[in-house]
């Protein structure tokens, strides 16, 4: 039985005929039509496919459906719902700092930042360096850092 909760809704992957080996990313995208989670590399290198699984930031391109049983999964589409259907502070800061360029990496970037601030509400630049390993080919890194510091009220030593 591979039953989990995705964005607050119970999903039974067995009933949907999804095999255990399929990475969560492709079940989200092609079986559940939740395309906000993106494919960038398929080998856990880029973070475009980042989702929250039981509160952890996980690269869903290498996370098999077989491991999802009993897990609570949140994707970018469900993030605001975890905050009373309002944008989270990170999402708001992303708009304020005009972070996204093409935007393709940003679902993953935002979910990685959410997790960082949950673990370390007052992150240093070293904390940001360690946690934010997502690739952004448009290079929004300067603004990602500024937006995180803005939400946390911490000092940006790289500005």
């Amino acid at each position: 039985m591979s039953t989990c909760e995705i964005n607050g809704t119970r999903v039974d992957f067995k009933a949907l005929n999804v095999e255990d080996e399929m990475p969560l990313l492709w079940a989200l995208r092609d079986e559940l039509n939740l395309p906000g989670t993106k494919y960038g590399c398929g080998i856990a290198q880029c973070g475009a496919c980042t989702v929250h699984i039981d509160g952890e930031a996980v690269r869903s391109c290498v996370y098999p459906i077989g491991a999802c049983n009993g897990k609570k999964i949140v994707t970018i589409e469900g993030l605001a719902a975890t905050n009373g259907n309002k944008l989270t502070k990170i999402q708001e800061a992303w708009i304020k700092h005009q972070v996204p360029q093409c935007g393709y990496c940003q679902s993953g970037m935002i979910l990685a930042a959410e997790k960082l601030l949950r673990d370390k509400p007052k992150p240093t630049d070293a904390d940001i360096d360690a946690a934010m390993t997502n690739i952004c080919r448009c290079s929004t890194y300067v603004r990602v850092r500024a937006a995180i510091h803005d939400v946390a009220g911490t000092t940006n030593t790289r500005a």
Binding site: V11, C46, N85, L87, M132, V142
Partner: protein
Amino acid sequence: MNTTNVSRREFLQTSAGATAGLVIGFNFPSSNAQSKAPATAGIAAGNVGGTSEVNAWIHITPDNRVLVKFARSEMGQGTSTSLPMMVAEELECDWSRVEISEAMYSEHIKRNRLYVTTATGGSRGTRDSASVMLNAGATARAMLVQAAAARWSVPVSECVTANSIITHTPSKRTVTYGAVAEAASKLKAPEKVALKDPKDWKLVGKPIPRIDIPDKVVGKPMYGIDVVRPGMVHAAIAQCPVFGGKVKSIDAASLAAAKRMKGVADVLDMGEYVAVVGNNWWRCNQAVKSLKVTWDEGGNGNVSSESIKKYMQEGVAKPATLAKTTGDFAKAYADAPTKLEAEFYAPYLDHAPMEPMNCTAEVKDGFVTVWVPTQSAEAAAAAAARAANVAPDKVEVYRQQLGGGFGRRGAFQDFSRQAVEIAMKVNKPVKLLWSREEDIQHGHYRPATVARLQGALDKDGKLVALSARVGVQSILERVRPEALRKTESGPVDPMATSCFDDSPYAIPNLRTEHFYAKQHVPVGFWRAVAHSQNPVFRECFMDELAARAKRDPYQFRMDLLSGTADPVRRDRGVLEAVAKGADWSKPMPANHFRGIAVQDAYGSHAASVVEIEKLANGKLKIKRVVIAVDCGHVAHADAAKAQIEGCMIYALTAALYGEITIKNGRVEQSNFHDYPMMKISETPKIVSLLVPSGGFWGGMGEPPMAPLTPALLNAIFAATGKMHRSLPLSKEGVLFA
């Protein structure tokens, strides 16, 4: 257990519910391919559904919404905000009611290239649109005023406009744009309209929040990869690893096994590639990977990076095809007391946008529709039309959001062609997605380049002679061979010797030659194109010459920028600005070093200072980058700065790590583990200086790339005394902290 099988639609609705109300003004008919709106929604030919087409670019609804046609591609540069801003500036309309709507390819073709071009490249999205957009706004405004004046029977001169409202000043009567839009749309457009003085601009240049951003923080935009069509199948492909090769055979057992794999509908031998179609892309890709394909590699199975480099080194060792000559280089060089000679190398580079190549295609009754993240609707349509053997007016293109472009999604539409080919074969809508591996191994690469430079200084240390012999494949040959310059000794691609031919420096004796290299590796328009490598050669050599002359590299350049022509003046301007911004006149702290460089590109001028620290362990740390750009007029101050930030990392990534190598005719790299990207931890401080001198519109998406790498290499030269003339630095043993 209480388990519900939630439907796809419910998922979509739940997700959309959380974000309702956030979205303003993003009205692409293609932005949700599943929406119930007909495919033609938003295309008003004439006046449709109460919406009046005041001119090709501007449609106004009775309730005052202004729909601005967007013919370019939004890939993060902010053009979908800055172009409507120009329209709104001259139209004097309410910015909060402006929406963008896709300028459809079919309209463009049907109405005699209505939108001028649908391509986005060469940093032209803004600079070539500016006058069109400003004029469209001004023309529409004049027509609206004329319609209102006619309704009131008053002179046009007594009417003023603001915020989508026309006021007859003497009587204080008002009317909205929406109320007179239909009447205005029937008027003849004025031939000439006066445009505002740039100093009166209220919107243009301002950092207005970008229209596309709210959607992008909730995962809502529809990129090409997200398109879903009724009855659609997914497709994954494997192309011959050696460029130009084709399928010889597919092992029968592996073929039978792949066909039996879950979700696989069919395995197709497409001649030049194999394709698997099925109900989930991952399943298709697993099946493609399981196939044992024997390839006919063509004649290039022995080519390697080393063989290519050696071939080009031999090419530039002897005279090549003359591109430009002024003065008498040979004599000046022979006579000069100080000479310097250097050979530079830059490798092949792949674009690797975050969204791998993809296209969704549907072919029905001789009509082809593609949903594609493309930098050129026309190029996508041309590829689709050729593949389906139909006329260009039998194609429709829905441009999707692009998950990055950087030049990869423009002229070469291999993915669009393939999607159509597969759709025809299976007779169903097909979404083709390349794996990241296919994406990196089947690019249209920034060409590898070898440049042999010679320079001579007179007895006062002044540069009197410069020669550049550049060995590089021609990109132009692949897209517009008729534009190559023909000479007695063969063709010259003007891009090959750019940055030297048009060098702003006062060099009395200059000679440039192109060794017209031929290789099987496909080359294309990588961000900044030739301005990604030629400025490295020129500006690093300038520092080496300055060192020979025992001159400060900034002063050495300034002395040679003595002309009064606009480009020279502007190069001088950005050099001064960057030197000031980086405190060039003050010495650096202990163990800190810096380099400087300048380059004009795509109508703009850019100069950069890169500051590095030499750490005790011998590693280098990039501490700060200062960039000054003169793009004439700034279209959008914040988006311009974002482009500078983007260019900085795109260029530095290439300088530090970027290299596509060839072995046995094929690309050795395959994904981000062996084609690495800079990350946030490596991102230095950046100071972006916009120093617009006015009077022209320059590009922003590429120009800031040009001076960055040479400024970095010059900083390392200052730190170590060694000029690294070959990229990437990782191959040179230069380590960064």
